[in-house]
Structures are given as C-alpha cells and as structure tokens.
Amino acid sequence: MSTLKRYQFPALIIALILLAAMPADLTGLGIPWTGFKRYGLYIISLWLVTAIAAMGVNLIMGYAGQETLAQAAFLGIGAYTMALLTTKLGVPYFVAFAAAGALCFVVGILLGFPALRVQKHYLAFVTLAFAVFVWLFIRNEQWLTGGVFGIQDVPRPVIFGIKTRPPLVFYWFVLFMTVVLAAVMWWLLRSPWGRAFTALRENPVRAESLGIDVRSYKLLAFAVGSAYGGFAGALYAPLVEFIDPAPFALGPSLYYLLMILVGGMGYFLGPFVGAAVGVLIPEWLRFTEGLAPIIFAVIVMIMVALAPRGILGLIEQLLTPKRRPHSDVTGPTLGAGATLTKSSAEKVTS
C-alpha cells in the first residue's frame, strides 16, 4: 500500500496531463500525434460522464454500504432538467447544472427518508420502483419531456466566451468538471463525514454506539450519490445533444452497478476503471455485430470470477507483498473481522 501511496500524487498529475493532451492535435508542438477524431472524443467524453455517475454509486454502495438501482433515473432527472431549462427557458448552463444536482439531492433525500428505515435490500427495491417510475414519467408526460420523441438540440454551453460546441473543447470541459467533482468527492471521503460513511458500512451497530447518527449519514450518502447522477446527466444531455427516455431505464441502472463491481467497489478510482470497462469494451466489440452483448457478458463474468473485488482489488492484491497471516503485528489481533475492517479503512485513507 505504501508504495502505491508514495507515487499517487505525481501519477495523478501525469494522468491528468495525459488525459488533457492525448486527444488534442500536437503536431503544432512538434510532436507527431494528430490526436483523436470526433468519434474518439465522443467516447472518451462519454467515459468521463459515466464515471461521474458511477462515482455516486460508489459512494452509496462502496462507502456507505447501501444499494441503489436508480442511478440511471437520477441521470435522467439531471439530463432532463438541463435540457428543459436550457432549451425552453434559456437558463445559463451553470445555473441549470446546479439545479440538476440540487434536484437529485432533494429527490434522493425524499426517496431515501422512508426507505432507509429498513435494511439495505429494501432500499434497493424502493429504488427499483423509483427507476421504473421516472422512466415512465419521462416517456409518458409528453407535454413536459417530449415523450418518446425526446428533446432535440440541447445546447453545449458557452463559458467565459468560449464556445464548447467543438468536440475537443467540450471534452476539456467535461474533463474539468470531472476533476472538480472528483476533488469534491475526495474531500468528502476524507472528511469526518466520509469516515462516518465507512464506519456505517463496516459496523453500523458500533458506529451508532459511538454517537454517529446512522440514519442521517445514510441519507446524506444516498442523496450526494444521487446528486452525482444528476451532475452526470447535466453533462450527458449536451454531450449527446439529444435525449430520449431509453438511456434512463432500469437496465442502464443495473449497468452502473455492474461497473462498480467490475472496477472495484470502495476504491476511489473504481468508477473510472468500471466506466472504462462499461463504455470502451462494448465499443471495441462493435465489429462482432450482433454477438457483442454475449461476448461482453462473458468478459464480465470472467472478470468477476477472477477478481471478485474488482480490477483495482486484483491490482492491489498483486502489488501488496504477501504476508504470513500472523506476522501483522501492528494490526488488531481479534480475528479476521477486525483485520478486514482495518484493510478497508486503509483503502479509504489511501
């Protein structure tokens, strides 16, 4: 773990520079690299947007130990809020962006409030019903949402006079928003709130006995996670420039769950890895025509079988030097459960 930790910050900076520079045409700087074409830019932007929504799921599931099957529905609320406010009322982008997140936060609280009185599977069922409800609403309330015809020409924003209509500029904009939202998530997880979330997941009874208001924290995690879905939706709408009900149905919600499982639940970078698997692999498999869903399913099953803690879990396992079970002198010695708690806590702080 410590080796990973030492290189973390420089690695992050390098990764960001690469992400920003890779899609651009660098021939002007004397580097023989012409960058990505529009398709590549679209896919890499879609990857980041998906990762933002998956970050929300990771907070709810990986950190707070709850379950949600409604992330695509929150994405839909965010996307339709953005589309309606900008196309029909001409509201400035960032106001609509904030509104999308705020609306999802409020809906998250309203939805979570009754549901969180019960154990986690019940929350999953409530969110499942909610996901179907949202999809039916946006499909049937044509006066508001355009129904099955969707909403066309969702504008891309103009920020400080810079038009983000060109694909590369919009990608940089999405990258910037992703970095901001990831930084907020990072701060949140390291704050006392974040520690409380983890405490809830590991041992709710003990957390409660230590004075943590279990219900409020669960609710907070659920609402913040849902708001991330809304933010992602507010970026998705101008990315595709057209929205219809299809991407916000129950199926895509399950897909976010899958991405978190494959990427690594409870790892900060898990959503990014999971979204890469969920967005990029199906794109690469396009050449197989109709076989793509079957091949994708097989790949995911193999991944889950080989790496039950996700890809990042597997990497961590491979990088951590193997220790003998009893050589861990610094750890608690009260048995396997306590050791598990410690390693999970490490995950959060690292």
């Binding site: 074409k37 529009r38 398709y39 590549g40 679209y42 896919i43 879609l46 499909r139 049937n140 129904g147 099955v148 015809f149 969707g150 066309q152 595709v240 420039e241 057209f242 219809d244 299809a246 991407p247 199906p282 794109e283 396009r286 025509e289 109709g290 793509a292 869903p293």
Partner: protein
C-alpha cells in the same frame, strides 16, 4: 546466416508487396451500415442486412459502381440512439462516400445532423414524419415517411372502408406515436371521428384489455399501428374476443411475419402497404424468389429497403459521374430511378429536395394466409 536472414526479409517484403498490390489496385469503396443488429430492432436490422448484402453482391458481380467494388461494413446500434450516434460518428471520421442506416427513427433523429454537417449522404430506413422536415440536404428515405403514408391510409378509411368513426391503436415509441400524430389530423380533416385513441407498450404481450377498450369504442373501423410481433399478438386477441369491425393497418400489419405469427387471426386484415414482396410486379417477384432461396425465409419491407439502398447509391453515383459525397447527394435530389434502366430499384421512385420518396403503393388484404394486392395506388406526382 546473415544472408539467410536478409533473404528471408527480402522474400517477405516481396511477398507482402505482391499481396498488397492487387488489393490497392482493386480500389474498394467501404460503405458503413449503422443498423439495429441487437436489442429490440434486431429482426428489422437483420432483414436490412440481408437485403443490402444481396444487392451489393449483385452490383459487385456486375463490376461495381464506376468500376469500384463496394464493401459493406455492419455496425450495431443496439437499438439505442446514443450508440447509434457513436457508430455514425465513427463512420464519418473515416470520410465515407455514404452511410446506410439507421432504421429506427429515433436513431436516425440523433444522427441526421452529423451527416448533414459532414456532408455525407445518409440512406436510411426511418419512417417518422419529422426526419425529413429538419432541412438536411443529405438524408434520404428508402420508404414512405408517415407524412406520405398516413394521408393515403386516411383516404382509404374514408373511401374504401367508408368509416365515420375510427379507433386508433398505436405503440408508444417514436414509430407508433409518430404515426398516431400523423394520422389523427388526417382523419379529422376528412370528417372521420376518432372514437378511441389507445396507447400500447413496445414488446407488450397481453392485448386483452386494449381489445376490450377497442370493442367498447364501437367504431366503424380499427386502425392498428404496431410493429410486427405486437401486431400479431393484437390480431390473435381480437379474434379471440370476436372483433367483427374491419382491422385496418399500414405496411407492418399486413407483413408476412405478422401473417406467419397470427395465422388465421390475420385473415381479412386490410390496409395500405408501401413496400411488399407480394407486389404484382415481375421484378419484385424475382427479388422475393432470390431472397427466399438465399436466406431461407421471405423478405419483408425492411429487407426491400436494405436491398434498394445500394441501388439508390449506384444510380446517384452514375448520375453524378464520380465518387464524391456532395455530388452523390446532389444527384439524388430530384432523381427518378426507373426500373427499366436499373432493375435493382424494383419500383419506379423519385426523391425530392427533402429526401422524401414518391412511388406507387398498394392496398392489400390478407386472404388464405397470404397478402393479396387489391389495388395499386399510383405515384402522387407521376
């Protein structure tokens, strides 16, 4: 040893050039098809794929278009507009001469601006009315839009069926709702009252409650606008509940697939058909025979749409006299393709400035487990 290796490399290079040369000289034009190969639209996409593959094989066997062979590339949209957009975007990055597809109107809707901006002709299968009304100079239909077919069916309901009230059953997606939105004003314009306006779900299995409602409306005729499988389920339920009023449809309701699925429940169904392999036309009959022999099942209208797309391209490229996307689009506007000169087009068709198509169509009826053409409707502007 050194010489051996040199010889090996040299030999490999010669071999590689030898293999590469004819491939380069052949000059193949790649045409991407961005179509529904998985998800809800898979049967539709498969038909299109088969039809277009057959047409390209025929064209290539006769020497291609202006001496260039066509190579088809099939890309799946998974019946999802977002994925369709990515697929079309990827195809456009390679600067193709034209693209084929998508077939689902929603997927066409998200991609038509991309092809318009890239100035690449898009020959597609969508039927929703608004597609060609958005001013793209690069979008072309392979079948009637609902803006053309719905007035025809409304006229038929008035003159042929002599209905004064009609119950409309549609499917709640862009196809069904688009058709519903197009026909209702046409009915009202002709003084026909809409007695019921019923929405059903795509993929719906049980139509019992809908048929009950339709019966209760007691209209003179029932207009059923659903995709193939749903149409068959509706017809079976209508027979079960003893519906006696005429069941009228547009293309999908009278398709071979519906007849195969619904069997005798499809008996007596009438309607307007834009494209059908049952048309009384020697070229269409010949097409039907070839398609059935090659794939082991009959073609529906989507197979025919896919079959016509490469021939539309061929006629346009030959009129333009060169392989150039802008020139191809310009050549297709106002072009009439005559089957006497280009048998692959099957039916005489004219494409207008919006990419809408005008050609003859049919009034048909299901009799004895087959679609029978009752009347041929001429082109609107002959």
């Amino acid at each position: 040893m050194k010489i051996d290796r040199f010889g090996f490399v040299f030999g490999a290079l010669v071999l590689a050039t030898g293999v590469a040369m004819p491939a380069m000289a052949q000059d193949v034009i790649k045409i991407p098809n961005i179509i529904e190969l998985s998800g809800g639209g898979a049967p539709v996409g498969q038909m299109w794929k088969n039809g277009s593959t057959m047409a390209v094989e025929e064209i290539n066997a006769k020497g291609g278009i202006l001496g260039k062979k066509i190579q088809m590339e099939f890309v799946d949209t998974a019946s999802d507009p977002g994925k369709a957009r990515a697929g079309v975007q990827r195809a456009l990055d390679d600067k193709p001469m034209a693209i084929f597809g998508p077939i689902y109107s929603g997927s066409v809707n998200v991609t038509l601006k991309l092809t318009n901006e890239a100035e690449v002709p898009q020959i597609m299968g969508g039927e929703a009315a608004p597609l060609t009304a958005q001013g793209s100079k690069y979008l072309f239909r392979t079948s009637f839009g609902q803006n053309v077919s719905m007035p025809k069916i409304a006229q038929y309901l008035k003159d042929g069926v002599k209905a004064q009230t009609v119950a409309v059953v549609y499917q709640n997606n862009d196809f069904g709702k688009g058709g519903r939105n197009a026909i209702i004003p046409e009915l009202e314009k002709r003084g026909i009252k809409v007695a019921a306006d019923l929405s059903t779900e795509p993929g719906q299995a049980d139509f019992a409650p809908d048929v009950v409602k339709v019966k209760a409306a007691n209209a003179d005729a029932i207009f059923v606008y659903l995709t193939e499988e749903e149409s068959a389920r509706f017809l079976i339920e209508a027979k079960k509940q003893g519906v006696t009023k005429p069941l009228i449809g547009e293309t999908t309701l009278l398709g071979q697939k519906v007849i195969d699925l619904a069997k005798d429940a499809a008996e007596g169904v009438k309607g307007h058909v834009g494209l059908t392999a049952d048309a009384d036309n020697p070229l269409v009959k010949d097409y039907d025979k070839k398609f059935t022999a090659k794939y082991g099942h009959r073609s529906d209208h989507n197979g025919m749409k896919g079959y016509m797309a490469p021939y539309m391209l061929k006629a346009a490229v030959e009129k333009a006299g060169k392989w150039d996307p802008k020139a191809i689009a310009a050549a297709l506007h106002g072009l009439t393709i005559d089957p006497a000169k280009e048998p692959g087009i099957l039916l005489n068709g004219t494409w207008d400035e919006n990419g809408d198509i005008d050609r003859e169509s049919y009034l048909a009826e299901v009799k004895g487990g087959k679609q029978v053409i009752v009347q041929t409707l001429p082109k609107l502007k002959p």
